[in-house]
């Protein structure tokens, strides 16, 4: 700024001096002064313009845009915006807002339900929108975007599915524990233990069977960490943990498959 300020004013001064010298030279001199002055002004204007332009690009160039990309994103709309796929932080809020509102993709085809993006493509998009910024990704390197139907999350079919899965869980585990008891011959084991301890034949229904059942219930409740919809501790339950593990595996598999089939949107 200092430099560019100086140059035009110096030019003007010189021109001014020249002008004073030439006044005595007559009309021609006046014209020439006028022309030089104009030129000088034009030059200085040019310099100022360049200065403004420089400042504009430099203001962005220095910035670092931090993004944290998600692994799996669900969108309701056809258009996928940058802010759906990643968290954005930038010291310059204008740059951050511009990056957030970038349109990354559009699900134009009804059939297409998911799309994998490479982080490189996103970085390229940011660089194109805001030239000169530095992008730092702190999140995932591949992003799976899924288009979900809003109506899919409610309705009769959904209730039916829930009942179906609950039925499988209920009858399945009932069968499992019965088969397990049958396998280990639990009644014989109990009779034997009863005989060993009490020294008399078991009637088949003793305190052992009763407390075993209580222990079984206590064991499951401790294992699953909740009774009747209320958590005992704050930890997630084993099935919740397993659910996340499963989801993660599925996402990894989908991304890997898309990568292998060359369906990832990436920089060329």
């Amino acid at each position: 700024m200092v430099e560019s300020d100086k140059i035009p004013s110096m030019l003007k001064n010189e021109m001014g001096d020249l002008g004073i010298l030439r006044i005595n030279g007559g009309f021609f001199a006046i014209i020439s002064i006028w022309i030089v002055d104009r030129l000088g002004r034009l030059a200085s204007m040019d310099l100022v313009c360049e200065d403004v332009r420089k400042e504009r690009t430099e203001g962005m160039a220095g910035e670092i845009v931090y993004i944290k990309a998600e692994r799996n994103v669900e969108v309701m709309e056809d258009d996928v915006l940058f802010k759906d796929m990643a968290k954005v932080y930038c010291a310059d809020s204008h740059v951050a807002a511009k990056v957030k509102s970038l349109k990354v993709h559009r699900f134009s085809n009804e059939e297409q339900k998911r799309q994998v993006f490479s982080i490189l493509k996103l970085i390229e998009m940011i660089q194109q929108a805001c030239p000169g910024v530095t992008v730092e990704n702190l999140g995932e390197t591949d992003i799976l975007v899924e288009r979900v139907n809003v109506e899919k999350h409610k309705g009769f079919g959904q209730t039916l599915k829930i009942i179906f899965v609950a039925c499988i869980s209920f009858f399945g585990t009932a069968f499992t524990i019965m088969a397990f008891h049958n396998d280990v011959g639990i009644n014989q084991v109990f009779e034997k233990v009863y005989e060993l301890v009490m020294g008399e034949a078991s009637s088949g229904y003793t305190i052992l069977e009763f407390t075993y059942s209580i222990g079984l219930a206590a064991g499951i409740i401790v294992f699953f960490n909740h009774i009747g919809g209320r958590r005992i501790t704050k930890d997630p339950t084993p099935i919740e943990v397993e659910m996340r593990v499963y989801e993660k595996d599925v996402n990894d598999a989908l991304i890997e498959t898309a990568d292998r089939e060359g369906k990832v949107i990436d920089v060329s």
Binding site: K152, Q158, K161, I162, V165, A166, C167, I168, S169, F170, F171, G172, T173, A174, F175, T176, I177, M178, F180, H181, N182, I186, N187, V193, Y194, V197, M198, G204, Y205, T206, I207, L208, E209, F210, T211, Y212, S213, I214, G215, L216, A217, A218, G219, I220, V222, F223, F224, H226, G228, G229, T237, P238, I239, E240, E242, M243, V245, Y246, E247, V250
Partner: protein, 166 residues
């Protein structure tokens, strides 16, 4: 006598807790219920499914350990729940329906459990890699399912459980 009963009580509770731990660790580690929930897109209701697992286990425990008190059919027929005379006919249909529901869901569960265990041990990926198997995984899975169904039917039809296949 009393002390012995207390001892037996403690033994019983420990048996129960460890049986629960053992059986459910296997069940959880094959990740069957998350898979069902994931397939059906009802993962929000995981809590409910866990409740179902808990209730199902207690239900199964009751009918296998206290089988003397679990004779629902006898109870219904003895008390003539659906009125004199036609209880037997009604219960016959109703009992069949209950058995059908039970059998169907148990079948689904066990079928998935068997394959989930096979898959957990990476049988399928290893095999398909060894023999350079690229296409037709769907057919292989279908063949597996048909094989399981055929084996199961053969097992019951030929009463293999009576003489251990010998």
């Amino acid at each position: 006598m009393f002390l012995k009963q207390i001892f037996l009580g403690i033994v019983g509770v420990s048996f129960g807790m460890f049986a629960a731990g053992g059986v459910f660790t296997v069940l959880i580690s094959v990740g069957l219920i998350p898979r069902f929930a994931g397939k059906m897109h009802v993962s929000r209701k995981v809590f409910l499914f866990e409740e179902a697992v808990v209730c199902g286990t207690l239900f199964g425990d009751f009918f296998s350990v206290f089988d003397r008190y679990g004779h629902i059919g006898d109870l219904v027929i003895k008390n003539q729940v659906f009125g004199k005379g036609n209880t037997e006919a009604v219960w016959h249909v109703l009992g069949l329906a209950v058995l059908m529901v039970f059998g169907l869901f148990v079948g689904i569960f066990v079928g998935c459990l068997a394959l989930a265990i096979a898959e957990m041990l990476d049988t399928i990926p290893i095999f398909s890699r060894r023999i350079g198997f690229r296409h037709g995984l769907g057919i292989a899975v279908l063949a597996m399912a048909l094989g399981k169904a055929a084996g199961s039917l053969l097992y019951f039809a030929q009463a293999v459980y009576l003489h251990g296949g010998g």
